[in-house]
Each structure stands twice: as C-alpha cells, then as structure tokens.
Symmetry: C3
Subunit: 200 residues, 3 copies
C-alpha cells in the first residue's frame, strides 16, 4: 500500500466523519447520519469520475473505501460525545482532506489525458462537491456559497500545481507546495475571517 | 414479457403517480407535476446505472418505461380527485415499489459483476433516490431524513437477500423473503411510528 | 467554425452571464457567482450527455466552451452595474439560449441513435436543467416549477421539431420553425403571464 493510497483512504475516513457529524443538530436518525457521511465521502470523487466517464468509480471498484467510510460512521456513532467536541481537530482534518483530494483529483484527471483547464476544475470538484451534495440534500446553503474562502482555496492550489507541473517541478515538491498552499489559505481565511468581495 | 419485466413496469407506473401527486399541495402546474412524476420514476434506477456506468439507462434503452410513466402521469391528471383520496392504497403501492426496486437493483448490480457491498447500496439507491431527487428539487426535506424508517428497510432487505443468496438459497424463495421483509418493516414502522435512534 | 458551433458557444456565454447574475441578491462572493455561472452554462448539456453515456462531455472535450464561460463570468464581474440593468436584454438572450439548446439537444440525441421520445426529453433537459441545478444549489424553487411557462415551451418545440423531421421537412426550415415556436411561446407567456393549469 503506497502513501497516496493511504492518504486517500484516510481522507475518505475523515470526510465520512465530518459528513455524519454535519447533521447532528437536526435530529436525524442514525441511518440519516450514516447516509450523509457516505454521500460526503464519495460525492466529490464520484461526480468527477462521472463527468470524466472514468468507470468504475473509486469506491465501486475498490471495496476498501466503503469500509473506510463505514469505519468513519461507526466511530462517529460510538464516540459521538467525544468526536463532536473535536470540532477544531475535525476542521484541521477536513482542511487536510480537501487539500489532498484537490491534488489527487488534478493528477487523476491529467493521467486520463484531459486538459489542464479540466484538471483544475476536477481537482476542486473532487474536494468540495461531496460537501455541496450533502448540504443540498439537507437543505443547507452549500458550503461553497458561505462567506469564508473554501472552494477558491482548492482552485488556487490546483492552478499552482498545474503551473509548477507545466514548468517541470518535481512531483514530490509540487505536492508539498500546492497542498501547503491550500491548507494555508484556508487556515488564514478562517482565522482572519477573510472572504472574497461580492458582486453588488 | 416475463414477470420481472412486468413488475418493473408496474413499479415505474406507480412511482410516477406518487411523484406527480407529491407536489399537489404546492400549486405547481400540470407540467411541474408531470416532471416530478417523471423524475421520481426514473431517478433511482438512473442514478444506479450512472454510478455503475451501465448504459443505456433502462428508460433510454426501452421506450416502454417512458410510456408507463406517461400513463401514470395521465392517470393522475384525469382521475386526480379520485387518486388523491387513495393515499392509503398509494402508500401500499409505494411500499411494494421500493421493495421490488431494491431487489431488482441488487440483482442487476450483481449480474454486472460488482461486489455484494456495492450491490447492497445500489439496491437501496434504486428504491429511494428517485424520491430523494424529487424532494430535493421541490425543496422538501428528503424522505430519507424524515422520521419513519424508509431507506433503512430497503438496505436491510438488500442485505438479507445477499446473505441468503450467498448461502445458495433458491432465487424465488429469496425474492419472496427479502421483498416481504422490506414490506413488513415499512408497514410495521409506519403503523407503530417506529424510528431509529438519533445521534444526539 | 460553422454556425451551429458559433451558436452553441454564444448560448454557453449567455447562460454563464445569467447564472452569475442569478445570485446577485444573495450577497454571494465572486467565486460563488462564477461557480453559479459555470453550473448554469454546463449543467443541462452535461446531464444530457451523462444520461446518454456520451463522453467526453462537450466542455470537457473542447476547452473553447470553458473560455466562453469564463468570458461570460468576467463580463458579469467587470460590467456588473451595466449588465444587471440589461435584464430585459438578458431575458431575450436566455430565451434565445433555451430555444437553441433545445434543438441542439434533440439533434445530438438523434444523431447518437436514440429514440424520438428520448430526444424530446433530452432537448428539454439540455435547455433547462442547468438552471434547475443552479436553483437547487442556491435553495431557490427551480424555475421549472414557477408559474410562467418555461420548460414546457422547450418540450413543445422539441416535439414539433421531431414531428416535422419525421415528415421529412428540410432541416434549416425545421430549425427556424421550432426555434421560433419556443421563443414565441416563451415571450407570449411572459408578456401575458400565461401559465398551465394546476392539478388541484
């Protein structure tokens, strides 16, 4: 099992926890919480692969991902009181998750032979669309449209990765730089409540 | 025309009626009601086949299903006053519908060579996602997240079917058992207002 | 570059403007507005191609469409005060857009060998589902379900195109007739506030 595979499994696991936790205040039952965790974890990558026509989807072709999701949901159920106090830790994990998924999505799209423009969009989609689908199903304003910089950090990281890649930067260094960039933008944006300007 | 095919057509017909009826209280026009009926009838199976990459989708490859949906919508329009009084009958049909679609979804997924874990999820998706998409479009809380046991009954039936199938139970008996199980769970849950525990 | 290609690019450009403008009253940031423009422009055609299994999707296989979208978003940003006063002009463009996309969707579906019934549905989907997805993400009642005749005009135009095509009407004349029909229905419906009857 290589490092990338391990990171993807961990990201899936963390996303399923954050998804299952997301509806705690709405009185949903255990099944609803599990379903939400599942959708959050698979949504972004599934949408990417459906748009690209890249079958089988990751979690359909490899059952390990389903067990990572199931583990995340069970952890949320069993340690709910504990986990729900870890919001800060979870926020960090979610930030790690979107950073890794962005770069994984970019690399997968490029490896399938698509253009860099499509790769940038798919990197961002991989990271954020699970949460968007979750928020849409639960009648929330999608996280994408809320004030704090979120998806735009992923898009920025994807573009930086693609530019550096174009100029031949070594992959390991490029991964480090673009993932760090996404994490930094997100952390700084939340800490200082930064947001992009509005149209009006 | 074999029995399974007939059941699928009937299920599609019934789902289109329940979908068209679902928005009656919102003052939607005939087109909106028809559209909702259509989405409810095709949503679950379409999502399953898109996720599996199984083209053509059932209703795209076989126009009979479109006419079954159209018939359901027309019946709703013409006999509206009558049909909307049949809520109890419709509830029974919907329950039959989700039970049949669950097992059909499981069998189709297995026949395409996917794992049992994926088959369980796709069985449930086939049955409930049409309603979930309908509810999302009409800004309702998806039926999945409401109190009464619904999708979890389908998941339970799918898992029982897969276990019995694994141990070599004859298909006809297995169909009978798992479909009856889904129907029973749903009927008992509604009658006694049973719901799963919540996280909080 | 032939005429059809030019029309498709212009339609995409216009849809991205109307999508980016759609959320102006909600205080969304620039990224949110751009994202909404993007979804509006690609949503209908993408859903059509995903349902048909027709990969690559138009904007994934041809980067020109991404630049048409980007141009629409930038125009909205730079000329916002000006563009938002052009609502009437934009309404006309949107009406042109749905008319062209309907016929393009019908023709693409037929050219892939699908039935006329499927082609009628896909024509309508191409035109309206981008807006429906946008409205769902932003928690609006989808345009489809609002009072004025909208998607039904597209469906009517698609059916007329298919009937005339069946009887061998020359393509250019057929295009002219069915596109004019959609535009006329829509303009008349909005001017006289016409709507279809409701079920109740």
């Amino acid at each position: 099992m290589d490092l990338q595979y391990a990171l993807e499994l961990i990201g899936t696991f963390v996303f399923s926890i954050s998804g299952a936790l997301a509806i705690q205040d709405k009185g949903h039952d255990l099944f609803g919480a599990g379903f939400t965790g599942f959708i959050t974890a698979i949504g972004g990558g599934s949408l990417r692969d459906i748009l690209l026509g890249a079958h089988p989807l990751v979690w359909i072709g490899n059952v390990d991902f389903l067990y990572a999701i199931l583990a995340g949901i069970l952890v949320t159920f069993v340690f709910f009181r504990f986990v729900s106090k870890l919001r800060k830790t979870l926020f960090l994990f979610d930030t790690l998750g979107i950073a890794f998924f962005t770069v994984l999505g970019v690399e997968k799209t490029l490896s399938l032979g698509f253009s860099v423009e499509v790769a940038a969009i798919m990197g961002m989609f991989s990271a954020v669309m699970g949460g968007v689908i979750r928020d849409t199903l639960t009648n929330e304003i999608p996280i994408l449209f809320r004030k704090e910089i979120y998806a735009s950090a992923c898009l920025a990281g994807a573009i930086v990765y693609l530019i550096a890649n174009h100029f031949g930067l070594e992959r390991d260094i490029n991964l480090l730089i673009s993932i760090s960039l996404i994490i930094s933008i997100r952390l700084v944006a939340v800490k200082y409540k930064l947001s992009l300007p509005t149209l009006g």
